[in-house]
């Protein structure tokens, strides 16, 4: 069995890489896959917190690489009943503690055992980013509908192409439905036109994402939350299902809800 190694990256910090990693990982596990999420943000780890596993950490990624423990000893099983594991980052070290070949080697071992290896990439385009990108075979870009995040996403897509990671897919996170309704938000089609990559999902801004992260239960477990449903659809798309994109809109009348259900609102976000 050879799993897929996917890096979740953005360039800009604070757009929701870690949240997306936790939710897509959980979503894939909920679909019955064996998944491991790897926090490569060494020195600033927080994937463990978002998944509610911070109290169970004994060993971390740097311990594995330096040979202090076996790979399996650093894997923490998720609280839920799914086949989901976390390899946390070291908090007391920095990005230069590992190099790309070491991370590549770890991922190669994980691919033998898991269907999906998801890497949470650090912000920025320095060593930590380069390590994570070198180890991955696919990439997911997370951005928010803000000019600064999009500029960074554009830069990162260029760097990914240079690193031979072609066809990254895009998640636009934290789309504010009220602002979309008022016309104050950037048009998603403009974002997609500019970045010229395939869209993997549109995630509405949702307070439940934040409360879920704080409680250590990724929002994808809450099927009533709009963002949770969006992440579940993203997981399905990563898994190869054809799920139409659902446009983010404010709570609306019965008709548009119905249209949403039958997929009429799912616009074609095409790109060249």
């Amino acid at each position: 069995m050879k799993g897929r190694t996917i890096v979740v990256t953005s360039g800009k910090g604070g757009v929701g890489k870690t949240t997306a990693t936790a939710n897509i990982g959980s979503g894939l596990a909920m679909r019955g896959h064996k998944v491991v999420v790897v926090d490569t943000d060494i020195g600033l780890r927080n994937l463990d917190v978002v998944m509610g596993l911070e109290n169970r950490i004994v060993y971390d990624l740097v311990n594995v690489i330096e040979g202090d423990c076996k790979l399996h000893q650093a894997m923490i099983r998720d609280k839920h009943k799914y086949e989901l594991y976390l390899i946390p980052a070291a908090q007391t070290r920095d990005k230069n503690s590992i190099d790309r070949d070491q991370l590549r080697e770890v991922c190669a071992k994980l691919e033998q055992e898991f269907d999906y290896v998801l890497m949470d990439c650090p912000a920025g385009i320095e060593q930590g980013f380069k390590n994570a990108v070198a180890a991955a075979t696919e990439a997911i870009i997370v951005t928010t509908p803000e000019v600064s995040a999009i500029r960074d996403a554009d830069r990162v897509i260029g760097l990914l192409e240079a690193a031979e990671l072609h066809k990254p897919r895009l998640i636009i996170n934290r789309i504010n439905p009220e602002m979309v309704k008022r016309g104050d938000m950037m048009d998603m089609r403009d974002v997609v036109d500019l970045l010229a990559v395939e869209v993997l999902g549109l995630v509405p801004a949702d307070e439940k994402t934040i409360t879920a992260s704080n409680r250590g239960i990724p929002v994808v477990h809450d099927k009533k939350a709009p963002s949770g449903a969006a992440f579940l659809r993203i997981a399905a798309r990563v898994d190869g299902d054809e799920v139409p994109l659902v446009e983010v809109t404010a709570k609306s009348g019965l008709l548009s809800k119905f249209k949403g259900l039958v997929g009429l609102n799912g616009r074609a976000y095409s790109h060249a």
Partner: protein, 262 residues
């Protein structure tokens, strides 16, 4: 200053030095005499960047790199670019041109795809980093992928982009820049100093345009949206200022447009 010798003519303005190399003699002889000249006059320069004017001579890549090698080894100068005068090609013997074209090495790398640069190309841009590509004057470089933030190119001919140029990307060309897409990044046409160069784009949303020595800043957004609709645009220089007009053809007369203030 201007030092006249039979092989090489050196002229300089401030920090800029041009080497004009004899374009009639046999290549080997000229290159040897260039070397002698440099050794003799070593005390004239210590370090710096120069451009080389090859005149009417059609140089092959290995010849370019040999000249570059001779100059850099003997003088401590760095050769940043080569010029030749394509206009003079008309005066050349047709057979010589045909022979040169037949012998010309493969075309330069034309897309952003990573490809090992031939050794005689002094610099090659890799995606995601700044760099430059030696141009063949009179020929255009085609780029067929989106030009993204942080990517830049410097080319000694015309540049044609069959995609968008995103904010934060930079294109510098000695010739014209044509973008079949939306130009949102920075464009510098006529970078060798030619104010007749133009920038043409299907949509022009650059905050700043440079043509030759002139710089123009786009008017404030509110003002711009009032005065322009979307559509192809051309940026050109009139009376030392950059103007942008709806594009109506390469040889149309452009007299009015929106001023991009320098």
């Amino acid at each position: 200053m201007a030092l006249k010798t039979s092989v090489v003519q050196v002229s300089g303005r401030g920090a800029n030095v041009d080497f004009a190399i004899d374009d009639t003699g046999p290549f080997d002889e000229v290159s040897e005499r260039l070397r002698e000249y440099l050794v003799e006059n070593r005390r004239l320069w210590s370090s710096g960047t120069i451009s080389v004017n090859a005149g009417r001579r059609i140089l092959f890549r290995d010849q370019l790199s040999r000249i570059k090698g001779v100059i850099e080894a003997e003088s401590g100068l760095t050769v940043s670019r080569f010029w030749c005068s394509p206009g003079d090609l008309d005066g050349l013997d047709a057979a010589a041109v045909a022979a040169a074209v037949a012998e010309r090495p493969p075309e330069p790398v034309r897309s952003k795809a990573v490809e090992a640069p031939p050794s005689s190309q002094p610099e090659m841009r890799l995606p995601g980093s700044a760099g430059s590509l030696k141009g063949v004057p009179g020929e255009a470089l085609f780029i067929k992928e989106t030009f993204r933030s942080g990517e830049s190119i410097n080319y000694a001919g015309d540049v044609v982009v069959l995609a968008d140029v995103n904010p934060g990307a930079e294109i510098t060309a000695d010739g014209d820049i044509v973008v079949f897409g939306c130009l949102r990044g920075l464009a510098h046409a006529g970078a060798g100093g030619d104010p007749k160069a133009t920038v043409i784009a299907l949509e022009l949303e650059s905050p700043r345009i440079q043509i030759g020595p002139h710089i123009g800043l786009a008017p404030a957004t509110g003002q711009r949206s009032k005065t322009t609709a979307t559509g192809p645009r051309i940026a050109y220089v009139r009376r030392r200022s950059i103007y942008v007009s709806p594009f109506t053809g390469r040889f149309a007369r452009y007299s009015r447009g929106i001023l991009y203030e320098g």
